[in-house]
């Protein structure tokens, strides 16, 4: 089931050191990259069907093409803010194969005609961004980066300071510009992000780390794995009530239950599966009977009423109280709302408070009605999709586990 493309070097000793990395194929895609035009590189990525691994799943090639019509300085910003609960894959790339990321950045910069890339790493990841920084210094020493390189690319590691919302791409740019991390209003047409007014590509760490394989082996080789609409592989991960939580790279389309049982080692303590939150906390929960026919691709999970998100599954066993689980998640949203939009600031706060009543079993039918109306008020009325995500989390729990909430009503 496992297919290692991005994770190939994870288990190699000292894989983060440049000499080990060089022995294991790192930087080997670049020679052929520079023989092609930037346009040709973008085309290969588009043909490969590579989709963004930061949660949205947008076509990477299409996003890169958006920068074509812009002249002037262009920027590549790599999103290493990784804060979605249940998600811990990007960190492994930073600490175990930073040279793969650097290689991907060089190729991507070449394709979008950028000479500078910022890697925005969440503040908590200090020890891992230190490893990344050492790798970057090594790459400068060996002339993969900097003014003596074949193609000039500079990489700057920019450290965040604790704010989930800075993972949202426009908030991330605001933060990079030295502001509070407030998401921006979206433009009325599809366009790139703007860093100090210049066109900027924001991609997730894993997206960029997938680029070298594709450029070295071709779009077709990548499409050999996965499904027609979700091509390739992903660093899926599993945590919660399983025996062997971790990151296991598999092609899109594998059965979720098989993944959990074979790679996640099954449910801890021989218990039964109750539910799975499929792709980070912001994706609606799926009960075991739907998990049975779910597969790990964008289309299947969308059709089943959830989303693939970051591919970080949180597995809940039969003993988990769903009221308490929702409380945990709403506390997270309450804590992380940036507070710009009234429906989100108030909605996340009140829904969190109302959940306390359910946990204490002092809730009334009215509280359940209010919770539902809060969910409606948070959906589709805010600057970013943080609030709609919180809303869909509430809806998922109420849809599939309503009886547990009713049991808490006086």
């Amino acid at each position: 089931m496992i297919k290692k493309i991005v994770s190939k070097n994870f288990d190699i000793k000292d894989s983060f050191k440049i000499d080990v990395a060089l022995k294991n194929e790192r930087y080997s895609s670049l020679a052929s990259v520079f023989e092609k035009t930037p346009l040709e590189i973008t085309e290969i990525i588009t043909l490969s069907g590579l989709r963004g691994k930061g949660g949205g799943g947008a076509s990477a090639g299409c996003k890169w093409s958006l920068l074509d019509e812009y002249s002037g300085t262009k920027y590549l910003v790599v999103n290493a803010d990784e804060s979605e609960p249940g998600t811990f894959k990007d960190r492994r790339i930073l600490s175990h194969d930073p040279h793969l990321l650097i290689e991907g950045i060089i190729a991507t910069c070449y394709a979008i005609k950028s000479h500078i890339s910022y890697i925005y790493v969440r503040g908590e990841y200090e020890e891992f961004s230190d490893i990344l920084q050492i790798a970057i210094d090594e790459a400068y020493d060996r002339d993969y980066l900097g003014k003596n390189a074949k193609y000039l690319v500079d990489i700057v590691v920019h450290r965040g300071a604790g704010a989930y919302i800075c993972g949202e791409k426009s908030a991330l740019i605001e933060s990079l510009e030295g502001n509070r991390g407030y998401p921006r209003l979206k433009p009325n047409k599809i366009s790139p992000e703007m860093f100090f007014g210049d066109a900027t590509l924001v991609n997730n760490v894993e997206t960029i780390a997938s680029v070298p394989y594709i450029l070295k082996n071709g779009a077709k080789a990548y499409r050999k794995y996965g499904t027609p609409d979700s091509p390739g592989t992903m660093l899926f991960s599993v945590s919660g009530n399983v025996n062997t939580p971790g990151i296991y790279e598999v092609p899109f389309g594998v059965s979720m239950l098989e993944y959990i049982n074979k790679l996640g080692g099954g449910i801890k303590g021989g218990k039964k599966l109750k539910a799975v939150i499929p792709g980070g906390a912001s994706t609606p929960v799926l009960p075991a009977d739907i998990v049975k026919y779910s597969s790990l691709d964008y289309e299947n999970l969308r059709d089943n009423g959830s989303a693939l998100g970051t591919g970080g599954m949180i597995v809940l066993d039969e003993d988990v109280c769903m009221v308490k689980a929702l409380k945990n998640l709403l506390r997270f949203y309450h804590h992380e709302s940036c507070g710009q939009c009234t429906p989100c600031r108030e909605g996340t706060s009140w829904s969190d408070k109302i959940l306390d009543k359910f946990v204490d079993k002092t809730a009334t039918q009215k509280d359940l009605d209010i919770l539902r109306s809060i969910s409606i008020s948070m959906n589709g009325k805010t600057i970013c999709v943080f609030a709609p995500a919180a809303s869909s989390v509430i809806d998922g729990f109420l849809k599939h586990f309503e009886s547990e909430f009713l049991e808490c009503i006086q």
């Binding site: 990784e82 804060s83 969440r122 200090e126 919660g240 949180i314 809940l316 997270f332």
Partner: protein, 145 residues
């Protein structure tokens, strides 16, 4: 009280300026530098950062207060952060937090934080910023002695 960057940091700032198109982008890196130097961010330091980045003091204050990792006060104790988000809670983070509160709250400041990106090592905590995964009471007792 005034704030001065160390010589080493002053040189670093000159280098950093070349890495960004505008000085304003230096705000977060400079605030980190301040916090590394003093262990917190004082009013004087914020004024210094405002000067260097050509921004108002109140803008800098606004930025500092947005991010949970920036501190306006010097911590009196060493800090332990316990992750409380779902995967950690499912694996006993509440017990770990209670254990720490009961036994170590005199010597350590024990905080709860949201998902740290270590869910496969749940329950997890950090000790002075360093990750500890799959923590147990026994291990904590050993490490904190």
């Amino acid at each position: 009280m005034s704030f001065v960057f160390t010589k080493k940091n002053t040189l670093k700032i000159q280098e950093l300026k070349k890495s960004y198109p505008k000085k304003k982008a230096l705000i977060l890196p400079l605030l980190w530098m301040v916090q590394k130097q003093d262990n917190f961010i004082s009013e004087a330091a914020m004024k210094k950062v405002a000067d260097i980045t050509e921004q108002s003091y109140i803008h800098i204050y606004g930025v500092v207060t947005f991010y949970t990792m920036f501190r306006l006060n010097k911590p009196e104790k060493k800090i332990i952060e316990v992750c409380r988000t779902l995967s950690c809670e499912l694996n006993g983070s509440e017990d770990i937090k209670a254990y720490l509160d009961y036994n170590y709250s005199n010597e350590y400041e024990i905080l709860e934080v949201e998902c740290m990106g270590a869910c496969s090592g749940a329950p997890m905590c950090t000790l002075n910023g360093k990750y500890m995964e799959n923590v147990t009471k026994e291990e904590l007792t050993r490490v904190l002695k």
